[in-house]
């Protein structure tokens, strides 16, 4: 408009002198489609208009809006991306469970009613654990479903392993071939089939299948994850994980940020914030200023390995000042056991003087105070290299917690250090002394709050022991020594006929990956390698079959987690299949509804097991047979209907109240709250006969313990009480005080082992950014865009010493090799320590295949003898695909694969890989040392392995009863008692 007219008009209006219509677009509906993996989805237009959402006010005061469940079958909402045009879309909302970590958070898939394409994944408000909220990883499931580089069909290797040549095969062909090889193995032996799982993402189904095959074949990733922590908790209380009731805590004590910012992030984080809003104090031990540390009232950047000393200083403070829960300790600690064996185990004469031959609780108290008297705040401050006043502040907060101390350790110190399991023993001592065990605001056992239903027809335990999984040297391992598989194989301890990696990438995730590379290429070690995976990974490249399995909205699983003091189950569903069935379409197998021929393991296992035993002669087929339709394999509907009908208390009644079957209820809501609150279950009164040992039995089974004249359930320990002194450890050769009672064990990276004067540093690799998922986020474009680099965190004082600035290339030498990364100079890390997130540095060997181009580097692998070298040829890049976002990739570097250079460090007790590494040299890289280069000598790998092997105390030498492992200890799949017998030594040859 002209200036003159605009001004004139306006002035006229100002002096009192003197429309558009929205365009309604035609509503069109397109046809059903299934375009994931080949095109971006489209959605039908609808003439309807939205209804109001429900508002949910969360306990921390926040409010969210959700579609009301009564509208989930038919939900209309405006399409935000069409804005400002108002376009309505009509969906059926199908609940499922996130598969991007183990929290089991609820998701709702918005499935378009016209095209059956998934529009988005949002939170499920009726899920008791996540309560409608998700972290970034949940909604990013959509990226994974519509990833342009998805594996859509079963692939079979052509040419040598690792050559990158694949052909598409049918499911029929793959099933028949794999089943035949399983049958051949099973006919020969019962330890030739191995299922190696990364994140289970479900609670019983696969284990039941393995048991059905009659083999000892369950192998997990636990020993690179939670083994140490599990050992510590198990020795105390007979449960192997904590379940803090954060929301009601007065003080929250976290060893590390890992759990709350990276792992079970969402359900715990929201409850921690809830508690903080109510005034709870948060204490975090972490040498790195993590998100959690930054939200803490007291941040203790302890030197790794010093945590036990700091915790015992707090314990000592409680003891010496009388601020411990005397009544709880008297009732629930096995102090009688401590007094009975103190003379055998405790080395300090002052303790014996304090006890003075008495057998009273008072004697125990005096002994305890004497035992821990040396753990002063000053000593703790010196070892931890933190100001003493911060430790005092933390101890005071613990003392003020009363019986509302929520504490947790998952990875971090426990999985970082040799003897990390003792960090957990020391941490739980604080729960015990404050009486915060199973109380509101306290710390429960995971088994109290995680609900695992009884399986559909349980096969019997096997009578075989696979030495490759639980070898003689680690009778206390929690659990299988999975990361040592190539090392054990190299020693000739065994081979595997059929090796299933299931959402597992050992070559990339585990330490010492070049050992895995060597082993995976060797067909004499792994006869057939089948990778069941939703996305490409480095290990799958060396498989014989790559079988595409579904993401969270493409599969059936049942999950529960100990998110709070209650119990729930969540039902993962193939959402397109459910939506199609709601629309009256018939679907026999889930791969008919999923993108391409992506399948789900639940159906795959049934089909492959059925073919493994075609005539039933192996005794396998029976466990996969339908009850309703004998002679045919069980269907998913039948399987889950049986579970929900028979194995989940309260669910049938809740379903009936809505006029639904239990299966319909779970398909509608996706979750069910089994127990709303579950506190102090060990106090439960039980029936039984009390023996002289104080234990209560029904028949010959111990079911409880007498406490003050009442038969109570107690804990799942040998004494049914909390075991300060572990008699089992002492019996199996770990009799020294520093093992048998909570006590610091010297870490392999203690200051005594890191010579700073030589430039040695501590490499902290066991943490990650909250948007990453081990090796499963490279296919999520949103997540990769948020975080795609893992630089070396370095304190300014170290950077100055080394002449390094942010962005400079740095070479880091470990015990077995070296790598080059870029520096990030920050005060968020403790001097003397360098930290690198272990979830980045993905790579592929072929430009147009393998791990996604947005999240991996194209690399070259070379070897001279056993010296391996990985060099980056190019980083992430943009490329043309149906997804316009692939041409918008603006980042290039995607991190460095540091784990390759980590020597294996199997803890001699827990068997956990102790992740912290000694950086024997850190310096500015030379011009010819390119970013991302990794060099490793696997001869050194084996040498370091043997050094740690020598630290063990094998069952064959220390077992008190001729068994391989204490029967009391947990195993994911426990074999028969007979299988526990140590093999008899060979008879001497007759002369």
């Amino acid at each position: 408009m002209s200036t003159t007219r605009r001004l004139a008009d306006t002035f006229a209006r100002m002096l009192g002198l003197p429309e558009s219509k929205a365009t309604r677009h035609e509503v069109q509906a397109s046809a059903p489609s299934n375009v994931a993996g080949v095109a971006m989805p489209e959605y039908g237009r609808d003439p309807g208009a939205p209804v109001d959402m429900i508002e949910v006010r969360h306990p921390d005061g926040r409010m969210s809006s959700y579609p009301p469940p009564e509208h989930w079958n038919d939900w209309v909402e405006w399409d935000a991306k069409a804005w400002p045009e108002k376009v309505a879309r009509r969906y059926t909302l199908v609940p499922t469970i996130c598969f991007n970590c183990e929290s089991g958070c609820g998701l709702i898939a918005y499935v378009d009613k016209t095209t059956f394409e998934v529009r988005k994944f949002e939170g499920n408000p009726v899920h008791p654990g996540s309560r409608g909220r998700n972290c970034a990883k949940g909604p990013a499931t959509h990226n994974q479903v519509y990833d342009p580089e998805r594996i859509l069909y079963p692939l079979k290797r052509v040419g040598p392993r690792g050559s990158g040549q694949w052909k598409r095969v049918s499911w029929e062909e793959a099933l028949d071939d794999i089943a035949e090889k399983m049958r051949e193995s099973r006919q020969k032996r019962r330890d030739g089939i191995m299922y190696h799982v990364g994140r289970p993402g479900e609670d019983h189904y696969a284990n039941r299948c393995i048991q059905g095959w009659g083999v000892d074949g369950h192998n997990s990733h636990t020993n690179v994850c939670s083994a140490s922590s599990r050992t510590g908790y198990y020795l105390w209380a007979g449960f192997d994980r904590p379940s803090p009731d954060y929301a009601n805590a007065r003080t929250i004590l976290l060893i590390s940020s890992h759990l709350e910012t990276g792992h079970y992030f969402n359900p715990h984080a929201q409850r921690i914030i809830e508690a903080k809003r109510k005034g709870a104090k948060l204490i975090t031990f972490d040498p790195r200023l993590s998100n959690t540390a930054s939200k803490s009232d007291v941040w203790l950047p302890t030197w790794p390995g010093s945590e036990s000393t700091v915790l015992l200083a707090m314990a000592n403070h409680l003891l010496q000042t009388g601020q411990y829960n005397r009544e709880f300790v008297r009732k629930w600690v096995d102090w009688q056991g401590f007094l009975a064996r103190a003379s055998e185990v405790i080395a300090d004469p002052a303790v014996h003087e304090a006890i003075a031959g008495r057998d009273t609780f008072e004697a125990f108290e005096d002994g305890l105070k004497a035992l821990y008297r040396g753990f002063t705040f000053e000593r703790a401050a010196e070892e931890a290299k933190v100001p003493v006043d911060r430790i005092v502040a933390a101890a005071d907060a613990v003392a003020r917690a009363g019986d509302r101390l929520s504490a947790h350790n998952w990875r971090s110190a426990s999985i970082g250090n040799r003897g990390g399991w003792q960090v957990v023993r020391c941490l739980f001592l604080l729960n015990v002394l404050t009486g915060s065990v199973g109380t509101p605001g306290g710390t429960s056992g995971n088994s109290w709050n995680k609900f695992v239903p009884k399986a559909f027809r349980t096969p019997p335990a096997g009578d075989v022991w696979n030495e490759l999984q639980l070898p003689d040297e680690w009778p206390f391992a929690h659990f299988e020594m999975s990361f040592l598989l190539p090392h054990l194989m190299e020693e000739g301890r065994g081979t595997v006929d059929v090796y299933f990696t299931r959402v597992y990438n050992p070559l990339w995730t585990n330490p010492d990956g070049f050992m895995w590379l060597e082993a995976l290429q060797d067909e004499a070690k792994f006869g057939l390698h089948v990778a069941l995976t939703p996305t490409w990974n480095e290990s799958a490249w060396f498989a014989d079959y790559v079988l595409p399995m579904g993401h969270s909205g493409e599969r059936h699983d049942l999950m529960s987690q100990e998110t709070h003091a209650g119990q729930w189950i969540g039902f993962r569903q193939p959402v397109r299949r459910v939506a199609m069935e709601r629309a009256g379409k018939k679907v026999q197998f889930t791969y008919e509804a999923n993108p391409g021929e992506v399948w789900e393991e639940a159906e795959f296992w049934v089909e492959v097991s059925w073919r493994m035993d075609p005539d039933g002669s192996l005794g396998v087929r029976q466990w996969f047979e339908s009850l309703e339709n004998p002679g045919n394999p069980v269907t998913q509907d039948e399987y889950w209907a049986w579970i929900f009908d028979n194995s989940v208390p309260g669910l049938p009644a809740a379903a009936k109240a809505e006029g639904l079957t239990p299966l319909e209820y779970m398909r509608k809501y996706g979750a069910f709250e089994v127990v709303k609150e579950n506190y102090v279950p060990y106090e439960k009164v039980v029936d039984g006969k009390a023996g002289k040992d104080g234990l209560v039995r029904q028949d010959k089974t111990v079911v409880g313990v007498m406490v003050d004249g009442v038969a109570r359930k107690g804990f799942e320990t040998m004494s049914r009480k909390l075991e300060l002194l572990s008699g089992v450890l002492a019996d199996w050769g770990w009799k020294e005080q520093e093992y048998a009672v909570p006590w610091p064990l010297e870490s392999h990276v203690s200051p005594n082992h890191i010579d700073a004067s030589k430039g040695e540093m501590l490499l902290l690799p066991n943490w990650r950014l909250p948007t990453l998922i081990h090796t499963r986020s490279a296919n999520a474009k949103w997540l990769v865009e948020i975080s795609h680099n893992n630089p070396v965190w370095m304190h300014p004082s170290d950077a100055q010493r080394l002449g390094v600035h942010t962005g400079d290339r740095v070479r880091i030498d470990t015990e077995i090799g070296w790598f080059v990364d870029r520096a990030w100079v920050t005060e968020g890390i403790k001097p003397g320590i360098i930290a690198i997130s272990h979830h980045l540095g993905r790579w592929r060997l072929q430009d147009d295949a393998g791990v996604n181009r947005q999240g991996s580097s194209l690399v070259g692998l070379a070897a001279q003898g056993r010296e391996h070298r990985l060099t980056i040829q190019k980083g992430a890049e943009r490329w043309e695909s149906y997804d316009p976002d692939t041409s918008r990739i603006w980042w290039k570097t995607v991190g460095v694969h540091q784990n390759l250079t980590h020597a294996v460090h199997p803890d001699p007790v827990s068997g956990a890989h102790c992740w912290l590494q000694k950086a024997v040299s850190v310096r500015k890289a030379r011009a010819d040392e390119a970013y991302g280069t990794v060099v490793v000598d696997t001869n050194r790998s084996m040498a370091v392995y043997r050094e740690w092997l020598a630290l063990t105390r094998p069952a064959s030498k220390h077992s008190p009863d001729g068994t391989r492992r204490p029967l009391w200890l947990k195993r994911p799949l426990k074999p028969t008692r007979k299988a526990y017998d140590l093999p008899k030594p060979p008879e001497p040859e007759a002369k």
Partner: protein, 289 residues
């Protein structure tokens, strides 16, 4: 129109500008502009009006004199102080103290205040010379110096009603050009891509305003990615990706199209020359990896 009527009309028009720039399209503002031809493109949906207002003035083009005129292109600083002093001299007390005084809306409010005072004086028959001097000086030293670039920057966001509104602002304030000297950034041999990116984000240096939307448009036209985040991060990403992908000439061409949309200015000429040099020497530019 009598002098009194003119003063009243000016005062009310400045008040309208102030209200919309500060508070968006309020009911009162809508009632005023209803039926005016230049306001015909106002969307009927209040949410959409608010969203468009927020997109342009909340994030696209910061409506502050200091952003457009200071050497660092940042909010606050000397210019904001000078505007505050000018308000004090004219006896104007801004109704909003939660924002910096050099906000365009507050400057409009100050001018509305002065025109109202002039109208009062005319009505009462008292001299208006002092008021007119204050007004003319304020326009010459402040709003008139950046109203033009501000309007151009707003017009590049593609929201018709705000383009018209700021056009009205220029109608009233004029568009005197700032007289900052052009720079020869490349005269310094150490100038790298980061310095170039920083230069392009300061209107007082390069002569144009490039907001988030503008940078995205430049990237899209050049077939490049700029990522997200702060403007500086986006502009740096844009240059780095141009170097990585050998697309500096395409980027320079795309940036040139932006410059062409602006009125003539020696600083823009200098920027254009610098970009041409960069395009020629792209191969030798330092690139971070």
């Amino acid at each position: 129109m009598t002098p009194f009527e003119s003063a009243v009309a000016h005062s009310r028009t400045w008040a309208l500008l102030a209200e919309v720039l500060l508070d968006g399209w309020t009911d009162r503002a809508l009632a005023v502009v209803d039926g005016l031809a230049w306001a015909a493109d106002l969307p009927p949906d209040p949410d959409l009006r608010a969203a468009r207002h927020q997109r342009v003035l909340g994030s696209g083009v910061p409506p502050y004199e200091s952003v457009f005129r200071s050497a660092d292109g940042l909010l606050g600083g000397d210019i904001a102080g000078q505007v505050r002093d000018a308000y004090a001299a004219m006896g104007f007390r801004p109704a909003r103290t939660d924002i910096e005084p050099d906000h365009a809306g507050l400057q409009c409010a100050a001018l509305s205040f002065l025109y109202a005072a002039e109208a009062d004086a005319l009505r009462d028959g008292v001299p208006t010379k002092g008021i007119v001097q204050l007004r003319d000086r304020f326009l010459a030293e402040h709003l008139g110096r950046w109203a033009g670039p501000f309007h151009t920057a707003v017009s590049r966001q593609g929201v018709a009603e705000l383009t018209e509104l700021t056009g009205l602002l220029v109608d009233l304030a004029g568009s005197a050009r700032d007289d900052a000297a052009p720079e020869d950034l490349l005269a310094d041999a150490k100038t790298g891509l980061k310095a170039v990116a920083a230069y392009l984000l300061v209107p007082a240096r390069c002569g144009v305003w490039l907001g988030v939307g503008d940078i995205q448009r430049v990237a899209e036209r050049a077939g490049l990615a700029c990522g997200f985040g702060r403007r500086l991060q986006m502009m740096e990403s844009l240059w780095f990706s141009a170097v990585d992908h050998g697309a500096v000439p395409a980027l320079v061409q795309s940036l040139g199209a932006e410059l062409d949309a602006w009125p003539p200015d020696p600083r823009i000429d200098a920027t254009r020359a610098m970009l041409a040099t960069l395009a020629q020497t792209a191969a030798s530019l330092p690139a971070d990896d």
